[in-house]
């Protein structure tokens, strides 16, 4: 049960473009943008999942009546693609002309336009003067949606069915009344049912926030004004993108990266070719999908392209679906970037680190002042069990950043989430107050940044002591090779994870792995450092001396002593 291609846009008549001048269009855009911010603020503040409230793993956006993104609250870049592909799938099953105010829909299935299963997309129509003028949606990462391991990101999954509850587009509320049956199904499929329901309610509330604000806007603008402004916002971004694409030098830019999840590395290849005013982005030559969950989904792949375009040739152009119209993206069917149903997919974000790296590699010659060398990350670590203090189930996990890649003007920063996923960490004190674990160290991994004229940032060391036995899933990122350098820079150090049992035995985690760790185990994670930029011989001696003083670079000290 899947739907392969994004369905065509719903056929609504094109609005009247001449209603408002550019100043008025900007005023409407400003209001839309305020609505998105308010939705996101409301969601972050009233949700219960650590993922949403502390780490801000959520996004909100508004769409046109045709289902194209107009504006978004900019939290997580990788969500951009998902928000773009999920709504058309909802509209295919639920025709807009049959929707009523207060209707809300939900989808989380990557084979119906969504991202991995923990990301719930909740969307609803917006009405002005009784007419449908667009949609609002929020997406949030729910901590646990069932499946074979706590937190629904099992390292050993081989099919989507192992990863949790699949929701194709379904109706969650009719005219403001939430379906109690569906709520029960969702709650019953989570290890943390109360949290699921609270977060779901917070997401539904964001749609209500959006409709209330639209109601206020209609005191100043007619439905036709709003429709026209939304269409113009997209058309202007499209035209601007087409202009810059048309000005690109002819020829193909090629980039590649090696996606690393342990057992082997998968090549990701991309070719960018301007064809008049359309940019063709082709991932031909990319490796095949893998048996485990280290597969992107098409929406995550699109997100990487949107992000890379936005920060290079599209810099300064409002990011919305208008920009996307000037891009023609293909990813081979059955590849790691566009896997076939029913491939497991929960580690899509880790694949995206490398997709983005390949895109920057391709764009670096044209935009050296905008790109970075490869950035490190440790992947996702999840665990769960029964909290001995409360007798309740717990599930927890986090994505750990690493060293950021160096740029052509500066060293990479340390302990930073990779560019496509701007998440926060969870404070040590919060973690220990709420979960049966203790953090023994949280620090920088010395020597882990790739050398270069500008060196990569350093990775993180986070050491967890388990105060109860737990089932752990490691979707480890970059365990065999560190992120690549650029322009002669060296790669960063790879991720290293080891588990020391109470009896002293040590296990290395050098690939995707699910395991059981007894109470008292120490889990030490060292995440990958960033790649360097430029040849190491060109490094400023003063910068080397400064790194020595700070104790960032012990290799040199030890080297000189030897």
């Amino acid at each position: 049960m899947y739907r392969e291609d994004p369905p065509p846009l719903s056929p609504l008549p094109p609005p009247d473009h001449a209603r408002l001048d550019n100043i008025a269009v900007e005023l409407v855009r400003n209001s839309f943008s305020g609505i998105c911010d308010e939705m996101a603020e409301s969601l972050v503040r009233s949700s219960h999942s650590p993922n949403i409230k502390e780490r801000r793993d959520c996004s909100c956006c508004l769409y046109t009546a045709r289902g194209e993104i107009v504006v978004q609250a900019e939290h997580i870049p990788v969500h951009l693609g998902v928000m773009a592909t999920a709504l058309p799938h909802v509209l295919l099953d639920f025709p807009p002309e049959e929707m009523a105010p207060g209707d809300v829909f939900i989808v989380n299935d990557p084979y119906h336009g969504a991202n991995h299963l923990p990301d719930f997309i909740v969307a609803g129509p917006l009405f002005a003067e009784g007419r449908l003028i667009g949609f609002a949606a929020s997406m949030a990462h729910h901590t646990d949606v069932g499946g074979m391991a706590p937190r629904s990101m099992p390292a050993g999954a081989t099919e989507i069915f192992h990863e949790g509850l699949r929701l194709p587009p379904v109706r969650l509320a009719s005219a403001g009344r939430v379906d109690p049956g569906l709520r029960r199904v969702i709650a019953a499929n989570s290890r943390l049912p109360e949290e699921r329901l609270a977060d779901l309610d917070a997401q539904i509330a964001t749609i209500e926030v959006a409709q209330r604000r639209i109601d206020e806007l209609t005191q100043r603008y007619s439905a036709d004004d709003l429709l026209s402004a939304a269409a113009r916002i997209l058309d202007m971004a499209e035209a601007a993108t087409r202009r810059v694409v048309a000005e690109l030098p002819s020829g193909t830019l090629r980039g590649q990266a090696l996606a690393d999840y342990g057992p082997t590395t998968i090549p990701i290849r991309v070719a960018l070719t301007p064809r008049e005013d359309v940019l063709e982005v082709d991932f031909a030559g990319t490796g095949d999908q893998v048996v485990g969950p280290f597969n992107s989904c098409l929406s995550a792949t699109l997100a990487c392209v949107f992000m890379a375009v936005r920060i290079t040739l599209g810099e300064g152009i409002p990011a919305n679906a208008g920009m996307y119209r000037a891009l023609h993206i293909t990813a081979p069917d059955g590849s790691i970037l566009n896997p076939r149903y029913p491939a497991a997919i929960s580690a899509a974000a880790q694949v995206s680190y490398h997709t983005f790296e390949a895109l920057l590699d391709a764009l670096a010659p044209l935009y050296p002042e905008r790109v970075l060398a490869g950035s490190g990350g440790g992947g996702v670590f999840s665990l769960g069990g029964t909290d001995p203090r409360t007798g309740r189930l717990f599930a927890y996990g986090e994505a750990l950043g690493g060293g950021s890649g160096a740029s052509c003007v500066a060293d990479g920063e340390s302990g930073m989430i990779p560019p496509i996923a701007n998440l926060h960490d969870t404070p040590v004190e919060l973690l220990e107050m709420s979960l049966p674990m203790r953090i023994e160290r949280y620090e920088i991994v010395e020597d882990s940044g790739g050398a270069g004229r500008f060196r990569g940032g350093f990775g993180l060391r986070r050491a967890f002591r388990l105060l109860t036995s737990a089932r752990c899933s490691f979707q480890v990122s970059m365990p065999t090779r560190g992120p690549a350098g650029l322009d002669g820079g060296e790669p960063g150090a790879p991720t290293r994870i080891r588990i020391v049992s109470p009896d002293g035995t040590t296990r290395r985690v050098d690939r995707f792995m699910d395991l059981f760790a007894p109470e008292g185990s120490l889990i030490e994670i060292e995440t990958a450092g960033g790649g360097g930029y430029g040849r190491p011989e060109e490094r400023d001696p003063e910068a080397l001396a400064s790194d020595l003083r700070a104790g960032y670079d012990r290799r040199r000290v030890e080297g000189e002593a030897a």
């Binding site: 100043i23 269009v25 900007e26 100043r220 202007m236 960490d425 023994e440 960032y552």
Partner: protein
């Protein structure tokens, strides 16, 4: 603030370039204002000279000065410009890099080259001591005294200007931090302990606040030294305006400079509170528009909203400060087109130099001020009594060339558009501070100040259906006027994580007693009389599982007080987020205490004339592209209390201009001489009159 009924009061606002000095005689309702150049290190002498000459104009000796309150941007600017003291940090072993990891986030999702704020303490001066507590305060690993001694010696070599100490769970038990402080004492440098600066959970935010406090201690100490002579002249009654809306004694400011990081903007909120009290306004929003930015705040029932989430210069500053939303929109904000062709205003600003095109100092990019001038909302003879003429033709040319021509519209439409976009940005900030906090702006009064506040407030009010705008008499020095009569206050907070339903009254009594005695000891040491101090308790509550808490008042330190706080939390949660559950468990996160010595003074304004003067002229203001109206121009000083006018009209004063649209009305309020503008409610995006009506006078 003064206990001497005939004494003079002074307020001083020390900015980066200038010092605003205000001297007042509350008994006679007289006030004098001066502006002098800020010469660091000499500010005390310069302020005294300015005050002496102001006092002379009142025919009073400076010896009559009873108290002075100083607002200062010295801490803010140090953070913004990263001029911080050479600081060291002591942490729990294994956690010295928490400061550098900075919650793992990137400075910008979409600008990969944008960098985080520089780490407050570089790694070579971040040192660790072996010790560890758990979250209940139990000692998992005792403090290693031998290692501590080595750390102290190592720090001696580093010769820091100040040392910060931030150990895990110091908010539960400060004992290890105190012991570290004792060992560091021989270094003879200021110490900043996280258990004193910010005893709340989240180690990165606490460490950053503590380190920033240490890093600004030398800066605040130097600043206070410059004020030494001033303090001596007023018998020690010299106070520093704090971020949370109260003033601090100098010793408190020396201990906690980070609590002065919002000193300047907080003054405006305090002033607005006094105005709200005088006119019995329940819900007040403030709009303070300067050259490069605008500040928005809100007050409900006389309470200043407090936040822990302020960011300054890229750093989280989690100590309590008045909740103020700042946006990059002011008079100097530059209008430009983005790549898609949409009109944007700011955040880039022409600043004071070169300044707007109309200043004639080399500015070439059209600004908000240029738009006001082009549309005749500002007078070409400028403000400041005509001493600063403006070039309207140059402003129009720049708007025509840079905005109107590329957009294919008239310069009038472009200029009007610049103001509309600016207003829209301000509206978003005001909405954030009202609607998003569950407050209905249609019940509020918007208090406008700062040089350009009154120029924008009426349009902002119209867009949000705020029924009235209040323009205080001392618009340009409103903050300084407000802090003349600010309370002296001390505040603290403490993380105390408990299920609200399970809090035992005796535990509550124990912890609140501890917090109270700590603050009272500081106040007494500063020479305040504990009997005159007023206590104000509040709680941060959340549903179990949430991260963000809402702050509500705790009306009594007993179970009834807790029950009232719970009810207030549910109401606030519903108002802000649209939903609330009566059955989910509510958690107590932080306790907050503020003790204050109420000010004895209510500073009024100088009495106005008995009879109002007529308009001194008229200007043809463009209210929209094709809507011009002849507006009589009144001088603020000529208007008697009780005067009523009907727009369109202009009221000009030394440092500000208020422009009323057609149908808006204005009254000069008795007592404060504030302009109360009642907004004519209006529909339609252009805020224009119905078509077909002639707008030509």
């Amino acid at each position: 603030m003064s206990t001497n009924a005939n004494g003079l009061l002074a307020a001083v606002d020390v900015g980066g370039t200038f010092i605003d000095v205000v001297l007042a005689d509350p008994a006679r309702r007289i006030m004098r204002i001066d502006k002098v150049l800020h010469r660091p290190g000499q500010q005390g002498r310069d302020i005294i000279d300015a005050l002496t000459s102001l006092a002379a104009t009142m025919e009073r000796p400076l010896a009559d000065l009873a108290a002075v309150v100083v607002g200062t941007t010295v801490v803010t600017n140090a953070l913004l410009e990263n001029r911080l003291g050479r600081t060291a940090l002591v942490t729990t072993e294994g956690f010295r890099d928490v400061l550098e990891i900075a919650r793992m986030t990137r400075a910008s999702s979409y600008d990969l080259h944008k960098r985080r704020a520089p780490v407050v303490v570089p790694r070579e001066r971040r040192v660790e001591v072996p010790e560890r507590l758990d979250h209940d305060g139990n000692v998992l690993r005792p403090l290693d005294e031998a290692a501590l001694a080595r750390v102290v010696e190592a720090l001696r070599e580093e010769k820091p200007d100040a040392v910060a100490v931030c150990l895990l769970y110091s908010f539960v038990s400060p004992e290890h931090e105190k012991r570290v402080a004792e060992s560091l004492a021989p270094l003879g440098v200021p110490l900043s302990l996280s258990s004193e600066v910010l005893p709340v959970f989240r180690e990165y935010e606490r460490a950053t606040a503590t380190a920033l406090n240490a890093a600004t201690m030398p800066i605040m100490a130097a600043f206070l030294e410059g004020l030494e002579s001033l303090g001596a002249d007023v018998g020690g009654r010299c106070f520093i305006m704090g971020s949370a809306g109260g003033s601090m004694t100098r010793s408190e400011a020396r201990r906690f400079p980070i609590k002065c990081a919002m000193s300047g903007p907080a003054g405006g909120v305090v002033a607005a509170r006094q105005l709200a009290e005088l006119h019995e306004l329940d819900l007040v929003l403030t709009l303070d528009v300067g050259g490069t930015s605008s500040d928005v705040a809100f007050l409900r029932e006389g309470r200043i909203a407090i936040t822990d989430e302020r960011r300054i210069g890229g750093y989280p500053v989690a100590v309590a400060s008045a909740e103020i939303e700042t946006i990059g929109a002011g008079g100097g904000s530059i209008a430009h087109l983005d790549k898609a062709g949409l009109l944007k205003v700011g955040p880039q600003s022409a600043g004071a130099s070169p300044g707007p095109v109309c200043y004639g100092r080399g500015g070439t990019e059209p600004t908000v001020t240029d738009a006001h001038l082009a549309l005749n909302r500002l007078s070409p003879s400028g403000m400041l009594g005509g001493s600063f003429a403006l070039d309207r033709e140059a402003a129009i040319r720049a708007i025509e060339e840079k905005v109107a021509a590329p957009l294919g519209v008239s310069w009038q439409r472009a200029a009007h558009g610049i103001l509309q976009v600016t207003t829209a940005n301000m509206v978003r900030a005001v909405r954030t501070m009202s609607v998003e906090r569950g407050q209905d702006p249609r019940r509020a009064t918007l208090v406008a100040f700062g040089g350009a506040g009154p120029l924008h407030a009426i349009d902002v009010a119209r867009a949000l259906d705020i029924p009235q705008v209040l323009v205080p008499f001392y618009t340009g020095v409103f903050s300084a006027h407000g802090i003349l009569s600010v309370d002296i206050s001390y505040d603290t907070q403490r993380t105390w994580l408990h299920d609200l339903a399970a809090v035992a009254q005796e535990d509550l009594a124990a912890i609140t007693g501890e917090m109270r005695s700590g603050l009272l000891a500081r106040a007494e040491a500063d020479g305040l009389d504990p009997a005159r101090l007023h206590e104000d308790w509040s709680l941060d509550l959340r549903y179990r599982g949430q991260s963000y808490a809402l702050t509500v008042a705790l009306p009594g330190l007993d179970l009834a007080g807790l029950a009232a706080a719970r009810r207030a939390f549910l109401a606030e949660h519903r108002a802000r987020y649209g939903h609330a559950s009566d059955t989910l468990a509510v958690e107590l996160l932080n306790l907050r205490l503020r003790v204050s010595e109420p000010s004895a003074v209510n500073m009024g304004v100088e009495p106005g004339p008995a009879v109002s003067g007529g308009p001194l002229g008229a200007r043809r203001v463009h209210f929209a592209e094709d809507d011009i109206a002849e507006c009589p121009v009144y001088q603020r000083a000529d208007l008697a209390e009780g005067w009523i006018g009907c727009g369109p009209l202009i009221v000009e004063q030394f440092d500000s201009v208020t422009v009323l649209g057609r149908g808006d009305t204005v009254e000069v309020l008795p007592g404060s001489r504030a302009l109360l503008v009642t907004i004519r409610s209006q529909q339609g995006p252009e805020a224009a009159l119905p078509e077909g009506e002639s707008h030509e006078a």
